[in-house]
């Protein structure tokens, strides 16, 4: 199964890289990609009732607060629901918000970074100061405050978490623009008559792709944790829906009585998914900067 996945992965990546086998010997990257792929697959399938052993929301026949057993692999909660079914379908909000937020911050941050780097002068200086200010502020507190402002739910969470990451992309692209702007080859094509838009699209953007891919993988890993924290604090999906962060908050009430399974399993899912994205980031960083791997930083 794993071997097939790796072969498939190799083939797909090969399509995008004109047949170069970039994944060869990139164990970390492969583990990350497979983890994330499995999570996506399970989460999508678990939205259909035939995939989960019991209905995550409406099933009410498990013994109340029973520990893990053969019929209920991860035990049951106080409302007689099957924890396993809830856990495998509980990643929906996390994944949607993480991808949405990163897409949002990537587009806004990169565009601002390009504009700022290219224009220079007062605009550049003030934008940089604003971005530094956002960056210096604790991202978790910023996200919570924004969600409090926008209201709970998936949409507001995308805006809040996305806003927090904008400075990261701004910095990466701006630094790249500043470097490319002065390069001799850019001067040359400018002399031939290329405009700013062409320079950005043909020369700046391709140069930033590597850095942005690594940064966004790390951001996805962080976003999974942030979304879990927001749901844990009660700013996520409304109650009956299965969600890891919210289910952990629910399990907290029964912690004193020793019901460890209510918090343990959703937490392990969060860790595995976040780690998956983190490993992709590590792998991409190794890939674009082979020195880094040799030095084993």
């Amino acid at each position: 199964m794993t071997r097939m996945l790796i072969k498939g992965l190799d083939w797909i990546v090969g399509r995008f890289t004109r047949g170069r086998h970039v994944l060869r010997k990139q164990t970390i990257l492969k583990i990350g990609l497979i983890t994330v792929f499995l999570f996506l697959l399970i989460t999508i399938l678990a939205q259909y009732s035939w995939f989960t052993p019991y209905d995550p929301v409406y099933y009410r026949d498990a013994p109340r607060l029973e520990g893990p057993s053969i019929t209920h692999l991860m035990g049951a909660d106080q409302l007689h629901r099957d924890v396993f079914s809830r856990v495998i379908s509980g990643g929906k909000a996390s994944l949607i918000v993480a991808f949405g937020a990163v897409a949002l911050s990537m587009s806004v941050g990169s565009i601002l970074g390009w504009i700022s780097g290219f224009t220079g002068g007062f605009l550049d200086r003030s934008l940089s100061l604003i971005m530094d200010a956002i960056y210096s502020f604790p991202s978790m507190i910023l996200a919570i405050t924004l969600v409090a402002m926008f209201g709970a739910g998936i949409g507001p969470m995308i805006w809040a978490v996305g806003f927090v990451y904008i400075p990261t992309y701004f910095r990466v692209t701006r630094a790249e623009v500043l470097q490319v702007r002065e390069a001799t080859y850019v001067e040359a094509i400018r002399a031939v008559g290329a405009g700013n838009v062409r320079i950005i699209l043909r020369h700046v953007a391709p140069n930033t792709v590597n850095a942005i891919m690594a940064v966004s993988s790390f951001n996805l890993a962080d976003a999974i944790l942030t979304v879990a924290a927001l749901s844990f604090l009660g700013f996520g999906l409304p109650p009956p829906a299965p969600d890891w962060g919210f289910d952990i908050q629910n399990g907290q009430k029964f912690l004193q009585s020793g019901s460890w399974w209510l918090i343990t399993f959703p937490g392990l899912m969060i860790i595995a998914l976040s780690l998956g994205f983190g490993l992709i980031g590590e792998g991409i960083s190794d890939l674009v900067n082979p020195k880094r791997k040799r030095k084993r930083v």
Binding site: S136, M140, M149, G258, G267, I270, I271, G278
Partner: protein, 339 residues
């Protein structure tokens, strides 16, 4: 004026525009973005539009934005953040009574992170590519992926509920809390001044799990950085010289390599502190720690607008101050940045 005092003065002047931008940002987020505080506060409850308008007037949010902005800034300058709706006390008082709790937690969190991070970092750098190095590195990478609140809860389950070694939450045990007199707000300091060993032990026990929880993610980051930095330093000629002189390996690592390896790590401490404050929100919530961050969460739940704004401003000022201090400290360690 000497080099160092000029640098401090310059750095201080730079903090002012930065802080102003941060405060303006807070204002913009809370006042100008869609949804005003009154509808956020009363929204969902069945309130007549007249009452909403009355509240708007009372809070001053019906005035033009520039006027509000000036009032907001002058309020901050005078240390006046308004009154909390929930507790009906001035927000500043609420924040300052809670601040020592947060600071105490942050200090011990960072302390744990430093010991654990540097320890594992040095361990794996000196045994590069041996099995222990691989284990430590997996731990370093994995520590980023662990949600703080979950770690806190798991520690509670294991060490408080199952084993019963440590208390589950809060800063003091029930009976001691009844008689405990706090002078500074830093309980460990207070208990040490009081000299009662029972109280000192109780306060210390309550600090263990929250500090580990808060410091854990930082420990991974510090460990990773100190490993990388240590590996770099161990390659230097002066380390080879020290070894050739016949010094003990322990002396080579501790006094020759480590001191130089630590320099680049100090720079990240400022940023670390911002992350630490974010982590404090979750740690304080899980451990019912009566600090600034849990006050913010409680205020958000209660839609207590002056308290939310006050807490966020307070944290912004605090972070700017920490960054200033870290930069100045760094200029002492590495004099090159002053010029």
């Amino acid at each position: 004026m000497g080099g160092i005092s000029r640098y401090i003065a310059q750095r201080f002047m730079l903090t002012i525009p930065m802080l102003l931008i941060l405060l303006t940002l807070v204002f913009l987020i809370l006042r100008v973005m869609p949804g005003d505080p009154v509808s956020a506060m009363l929204g969902g409850r069945n309130v007549s539009p007249e009452l909403m308008d009355e509240y708007r007037h009372k809070m001053g949010v019906d005035r033009p934005i520039p006027v509000q902005y000036i009032e907001y800034l002058s309020g901050i300058l005078h240390g006046n953040f308004g009154k909390s709706f929930r507790t009906n006390k001035p927000v500043v008082t609420e924040l300052f009574t809670r601040f020592p709790a947060t600071l105490e937690l942050a200090f011990f969190g960072l302390f744990f992170a430093a010991i654990f991070g540097f320890g594992t970092g040095i361990l794996s750098a000196t045994r590069a590519d041996q099995p222990i190095d691989h284990v430590v590195r997996i731990f370093h990478i994995g520590s980023f992926a662990i949600p703080l609140f979950w770690l806190g809860l798991m520690l509670q389950v294991i060490f408080a509920v199952r084993l019963g070694w440590l208390p589950v939450a809060s800063r003091l045990g029930g009976r001691i809390a009844f008689t405990f007199q706090s002078v500074t707000g830093f309980y460990l300091l207070d208990s040490l001044l009081g000299g009662n060993t029972k109280v000192i032990a109780d306060v210390a026990k309550h600090l263990v799990l929250p500090s580990i929880t808060l410091g854990f993610a930082q420990a991974g980051l510090l460990g990773r950085m100190s490993r990388a930095s240590m590996l770099e330093v161990l390659d230097q000629d002066y380390v080879t010289t020290a070894r050739a002189k016949g010094l003990k390996e322990r002396v080579v690592i501790m006094s020759h390599a480590l001191r130089n390896a630590l320099i680049p790590i100090v720079t990240v401490f400022g940023l670390q502190f911002a992350i630490l404050m974010g982590g404090a929100v979750l740690t304080e919530t899980v451990f019912s720690w009566p600090g600034v961050a849990s006050f913010l969460v409680r205020s958000i739940e209660a839609r207590d607008w002056p308290a939310i704004q006050g807490s966020v401003v307070f944290i912004a000022v605090f972070i700017s101050a920490i960054n200033l201090i870290v930069d100045i400290t760094y200029s002492f360690i590495d004099p090159r940045v002053r010029y």
